[in-house]
Amino acid sequence: MSLDYYLYLSALLFTIGAAGVLIRRNAIVVFMCIELMLNASNLAFVTFARMNGSIDGQIFAFFTMVVAACEVVVGLAIIVTIYRSRRSASVDDARLLKL
């Protein structure tokens, strides 16, 4: 089976994730979509590692997972804090930084 299909899947997952980030208002869903994009890129990494016969891509995938784990910790904490203070998980409500 050609490895290309993994790349197609990766691209599809990334696009779905990106679209979700752009379209959805719920912070949790947006967050999940970001995770989806990260994992899509992970899939692409390992696919390329397989294609090139080197393990560099796999190492990168691990890095991405670590970063994603950290991001989840910080991101969820922020979302929860915002929800507590504003009683809303909508990203459109958190626009206080606008001038």
Binding site: L22, V30, V91, D92, L97, K98, L99
Partner: protein
């Protein structure tokens, strides 16, 4: 020793200015003593100089290294030679007499201490001017006397017109100063030196082209024209009479205004090698001597008439300096005799004003000789000296100038000779007019005038100056003593003049004297016919006079000329520049600001605060970059 000449009055000026009101009681005494001390030093130096051989009479005193940049080295060095010693004695001598006179003249002024401080400042600056051994030192003194002149003209600056007169004098002087600074620069570029000896050597060695020398000469002439109130920068002198009369006597008659003559005589090596500049010197002198004389005829203000006369007499001196080596010594001689008689007459005018409640209009004088006998006598002696009646001082000095003007050769000699003779006639006319209107005729006093003779402190300086007016010419001329004294400086011996008669004369000297005396007699006769016994002099200047008289009363339209040619275009220019500054310069600066603001407020709209729109921009950017990469790798 030389440094004390400058240091004493300078220290006194500083003391009086910084001392404040505490010194009010002694200010005039300190000032007069400082001037007297400087005079004593000057006399000692003069006697010491006479004791030396004619070739080694010049002495220098290095004070300190002033500027040292690479090869360029200017020392603050004082130079006393035959030329500067004449000035030193004139400045300190006449200056001291005028200090003494001022004690009485200014006795009612609450700012008398300040007045004496300025006078001392002037003496110090003027001495620096004549003692500096380089154009740069001279420049410092030159500016110093300009400052002192400004301060003293505007001494009564509570009157706005007087303050304006001071500014006018200062600005006209600044125009001339540009010439001097140009001259310093030209000298530095051409000769790498700004000292008199360095420039003289450079000229002798032919380091500069004739064009450069002529430019240098014309720049120096511009400086002289500004300081000496010569055409076309003469307009300030009449207004400078706003200053107290002793100031007019010292600065605007005897010393400062003659600095131009000093500058040209000092730079004789330049002018002797620059024929065009020298010709301009003669032209300026000739124009001014008639210009001043014509203005003098029309003035009713006694001080302004005397000021016009000063202008005219300095014209004689400038003309003489323009005639080359033969002229410098005669210019100096006329300068010294003029210093005596003109200062004496100004002090006389001050004495008359003192007795007449500061009235300056001669139409309101008349018949004062019985009330002010000493003033009348001293003024009269000065009068006889200025119109050139033998054996008074002016006869010897002016006669010589007429003589050398006639000897200038060809048409030039005839033109210059006629101008100087005409000038002598006009001088005789207007000075007789001053005499007749002031001291003779009917009393035309204002109500409440009680003319009285001035106190001894004022009359004694006038008497001493009158003695100078009577005898100076005779003493100077005895055996060509003065000419021989200055000869080593100007190489006058080379041109065969010191011997007299070696050179071909256009007219024999005796004929020249006769012509000059005839001119004087004509001038005096016309004045007597017009203003003499029995002639009514209206209290207000008649208005139904010829156009010429009207023009002469307005200083031959010199102010109008300056205003239309320089002042108004200058004002228009500054207005235009102000508009350019407002619209273009400020416009550009403000434009940058407002454009930045507009752009920013436009771009600000993209900052919505929606996370999703930011994410969209990130993705658009990422896609754009990827697209670009893809496009390039195609």
């Amino acid at each position: 020793m030389l440094v004390f000449l400058i240091a004493i009055p300078l220290f006194s000026a500083a003391l009086l200015l910084l001392g404040g009101r505490a010194l009010d009681k002694v200010g005039h005494i300190v000032g007069t003593l400082a001037s007297t001390a400087a005079f004593a030093v000057g006399v000692i130096e003069f006697l010491a100089m006479l004791g030396r051989a004619p070739e080694s009479r010049a002495i220098t005193q290095p004070l300190f290294t002033w500027i040292e940049v690479g090869n360029f080295n200017v020392g603050a060095t004082l130079l006393l030679d035959q030329l500067s010693v004449c000035f030193v004695l004139l400045i300190t001598g006449v200056g001291t007499l005028i200090h003494i006179y001022s004690i009485a003249y200014m006795s009612h002024d609450k700012d008398r201490r300040r007045f004496f401080a300025y006078l001392n400042l002037f003496i110090a600056a003027m001495l620096l001017l004549v003692l500096g051994d380089s154009y740069l030192s001279l420049y410092v003194g030159w500016e110093g006397v300009g400052l002192a002149s400004y301060l003293l003209i505007g001494f009564w600056n509570q009157k706005p017109t007087y303050a304006t007169a001071a500014k006018k004098a200062f600005i006209a002087n600044r125009v001339g100063d540009v010439g001097l600074s140009l001259a310093v620069m030209i000298a530095f570029v051409q000769f790498g030196s700004v000292s008199f000896s360095g420039v003289a050597e450079g000229v002798e060695a032919g380091q500069a082209s004739s064009l450069a020398l002529n430019c240098l000469g014309l720049a120096l002439l511009l400086a002289a024209v500004g300081k000496s109130a010569q055409f076309p920068l003469q307009a300030w002198l009449g207004d400078a009479m706003a200053g107290p009369t002793p100031v007019s006597a010292l600065i605007h008659a005897a010393t400062m205004v003659t600095a131009g003559v000093y500058l040209i005589s000092r730079s004789h090596f330049v002018f002797d090698a620059a024929s065009v500049a020298q010709l301009f010197v003669v032209i300026v002198g000739a124009i001014t001597l008639l210009f001043g004389a014509i203005i003098g005829m029309a003035k009713d203000d006694i001080k302004k008439a005397l000021a016009a006369s000063t202008m005219s007499q300095i014209g004689y001196m400038i003309l003489a300096t323009g005639l080359g080596p033969v002229g410098y010594a005669f210019a100096m001689m006329h300068l010294l005799t003029h210093g005596f008689f003109k200062a004496g007459m100004f002090l006389g005018a001050g004495s008359v004003m003192h007795g007449m409640n500061d009235e300056v209009d001669m139409r309101k004088y008349g018949g004062l000789r019985k009330y002010m006998p000493i003033t009348f006598a001293t003024f009269g002696l000065g009068y006889l000296a200025i119109i050139g009646v033998p054996p008074f001082a002016g006869f010897y000095s002016k006669d010589k100038i007429i003589e050398i003007a006639l000897d200038a050769g060809g048409a030039k000699g005839i033109i210059l000779g006629s101008i100087t003779l005409l000038g002598a006639a006009i001088t005789a006319f207007y000075m007789s007019r001053v005499m007749l209107m002031t001291f003779f005729g009917a009393k035309r006093w204002e109500a409440g005038a009680h003319p009285h003779e001035s106190p001894a402190l004022m009359t004694i300086p006038m008497i001493l100056l009158a003695i100078g007016s009577v005898s100076a010419g005779f003493i100077f001329n005895m055996g060509d003593r003065f000419i021989n004294f200055l000869a080593p400086l100007f190489h006058a011996g080379d041109s065969g003049h010191s011997g007299h008669g070696e050179k071909e004369h256009l007219l024999p000297p005796i004929v020249v004297s006769a012509l000059a005396l005839t001119a004087v007699a004509i001038g005096v006769s016309i004045a007597i016919a017009k203003y003499g016994r029995g002639k009514a002099i209206p209290a207000v200047a008649p208005s139904d006079v010829s156009l010429w008289t009207k023009v002469a009363r307005r200083d031959l339209l010199q102010d109008e000329f300056n205003e239309t040619l320089f002042m108004r275009p200058g004002q228009e220019l500054t207005k235009a520049l102000a508009v350019i500054d407002e619209k273009v310069i400020d416009g550009a600066v403000r434009g940058v600001g407002s454009i930045t603001l507009d752009v920013a407020s436009g771009v600000r709209k993209t900052q919505t605060g929606f996370v999703r729109s930011y994410a969209l921009w990130i993705i658009v950017g990422a896609v754009g970059i990827l697209g670009a990469i893809a496009l390039m790798s195609l």
